[in-house]
């Protein structure tokens, strides 16, 4: 049971990483990051069976922080959209000379 959970978790995490690396839309990027966080949550819950209740505590913690992060991140995305009129990341390169 634990093995299957960890395999699913690893797959989810890999999908998240690939999404972050390859997608251009900022909101999709965010969703991929959430996917990675939840992959880790799944590992925590699964491993809590072996190592005790600390895994559950971590999951609650991660979810809290993910919520905060989403709030800040989405606010940033909205600001970016208002300023540049787009959330397409490759076109947000005004730092470049």
């Amino acid at each position: 049971m634990i093995t299957e959970s960890l395999v699913v978790s690893a797959l989810l995490f890999a999908i998240g990483v690939v999404g972050v690396l390859t997608r251009r839309n900022a909101i999709i990027l965010f969703m991929c990051v959430e996917l990675m966080l939840n992959a880790v949550n799944l590992s925590f819950v699964a491993l809590a069976r072996l190592h005790g209740v600390a895994g559950h505590v971590f999951v609650v913690m991660v979810m809290t922080i993910a919520a905060a992060e989403a709030a800040v991140g989405l606010a940033l995305v909205i600001s970016v959209f208002r300023h540049f009129g787009t959330v397409d990341l490759p076109s947000l390169r005004s730092l470049r000379e």
Partner: protein
Amino acid sequence: MPPTLSALLQAAAPHPLDGTVARWLPVLVLLPLLGAVVNGAVALVRRPSSARHPLVTLVGPGVLLAAFALALQLFAAMRGAGTSLTAPFLVGGDVPWIRAGGLTLSFALQLDQLSMVMVLVITGVGSLIHLYSVGYMRDDAGYARYFAYLNLFVACMLVLVLGASYPLLFVGWEGVGLASYLLIGFWFTDPANARAGQKAFVVNRIGDAGFLAAMALLWSSAGTLDFAGVPTWLAAQGNAPVVTAVALLLLLACAGKSAQLPLYLWLPDAMAGPTPVSALIHAATMVTAGVYLVARSGALFAAAPVASLAVAAVGALTALYAATIALRQWDIKRVLAYSTVSQLGYMFIGVGVGAYTAGVFHLVTHAFFKALLFLGAGSVIHAMHHAYHHAHREDDPQDLRNMGGLGRHLPITATMMTVATLAIAGVPPLAGFFSKDEILASTLARAHGTPLASASLLGIPGSVVLQGVYAVGLITALLTAVYMTRMLVYAFFGANRSGEEARAALHEGSPIMVAPVVVLGVLTLAGGWLNLPALLPLGPVGVLDQWLAPVTGAASRQLGGAAHLPHDTEVILVGLAVAVALLGMGLGVWLTRHPVLPKAQAPEDRSLLARAYDADRWAERFVVAPVRRLAERVLADAVERGIDGAASASGRGVVAAARAAGRRLQDGDVGRYTWWLAGGAVVLVAILVVG
């Protein structure tokens, strides 16, 4: 390899001074140092205050008096030990200082008969001058600072005369140089005073280079820097050229510190400091350090007769040269400054011809009468300054042309100054007569059949050099009597030229300024009894000579053999010396027979002697200016264009590289950032897994 000091200490037999008051020797140095710290703290805390602090008045002279009391105790202990005292008493040989390679140095202090004489002069005359300063500096805003510097000077001077090795002596040597610099520029708000301090420091640096080179050479060839180790080395070395080289380098150091040709230039300018400072540092103690060093290195100089002849020749030339300049100076302190240079030349003659006792004897008597002359001059300047202040005039209080007839207003000072003038002119039975006569007689006595006479200096036979030195010494004695009489007459006799209103305000200083002058007057009268010649039936003969015999006797015999003048010759010499002194004083009176105008009305004195042979201008043109040009060239080409240029170029390179790398890393492309992030995570995990 000669034994090190600590080995000597362990091997040494019990010393006759063991268990006596001599173990408190370090306290002697620490007392004035404590005074410097306390007074320095007061000066720092009460910076804006102009009032004198009672703590300073108590501590400043107090530590000196305590040190003098301790010095007397030490002297009594040494007297008690008597003739058993053949080796110096060492303290602190086990306190490590420098350990580098084969060099092991300790903070060892040594007390022997020569150090004892110096310590008594430094603390004794020093105490009197500290007391005098309480009166002289009473209204000065830098009262506490002044005493801090003066205490510091005494502490360093004591290290100089008590150090048991050349490096420790050098610490004191540099320390007194620092104190001298601080005190010459004491009134530093006048740029001329600050410049005078710098000049003293820089000129002394040339001599110090000689000292450092001498120590390096001594270390590389002898393997020791302790005084105790030098004779062992000399016994194995004989008269090798390296001994002469070390001695000549030491002579350069002494010429700097003791203001001999050609490094005397700083001393006349050093008069910019307060007058008690001139009395203590630039007359009685610090400038005699060179004489002390030659006497201390007596074994070295005795093994190098050529260097000894050079010392005597330099001394004779300086004595004559400075005496001629003193003939035509108008500033009372400058007369005394050139006189000091000249008298130091005399001491160099003494220690140069191997008559170490005579040199040290003149050092002691000179400390008495020259300190007296400077303190007297200080009283005069003090009185003149206040008189002019009272009369609301801006005239020069130090100029002899503004004085005249001061004897009526400052009777005690005038009497004491007359005593000192008679002493320095060489009138018997005052202190200067005995010491000067002994130097001249010793010079002539060594002119034939001694190792010194058979050596030669620059191709001139030693006997000729010595006879020349004697002749120059005699002429200098004549000139000394002339210029001192001239100064005395212009200052204290004849009609007063200070002006009506100022004259009414002229008066003697407070008792604390008069008392030290009187004590020094008594010492000037009695100082000759320290070392009476056998010729005159006045008391015990050659006390100082017997006292110093364990330290300098061997070196003295090595250079001079059993030199002795026939009785008749001695009588003639003494007669000649007295005749010269009286003739000189007569000439001095004759020279001053015409009245002079006050400075403001007198035409500027442009004679060659008044301009001191323009030596400062020559030095400026031929030494200072070329060195400065070279320094500017080095600064502009090598430093600014070379080193600075290279540094700037390499700096620009770093900036360019950092900019290129930074631009590539942080270009605002979020996609690229994520790849970097993922790559970093992979590397991190890889390290964790592999490691």
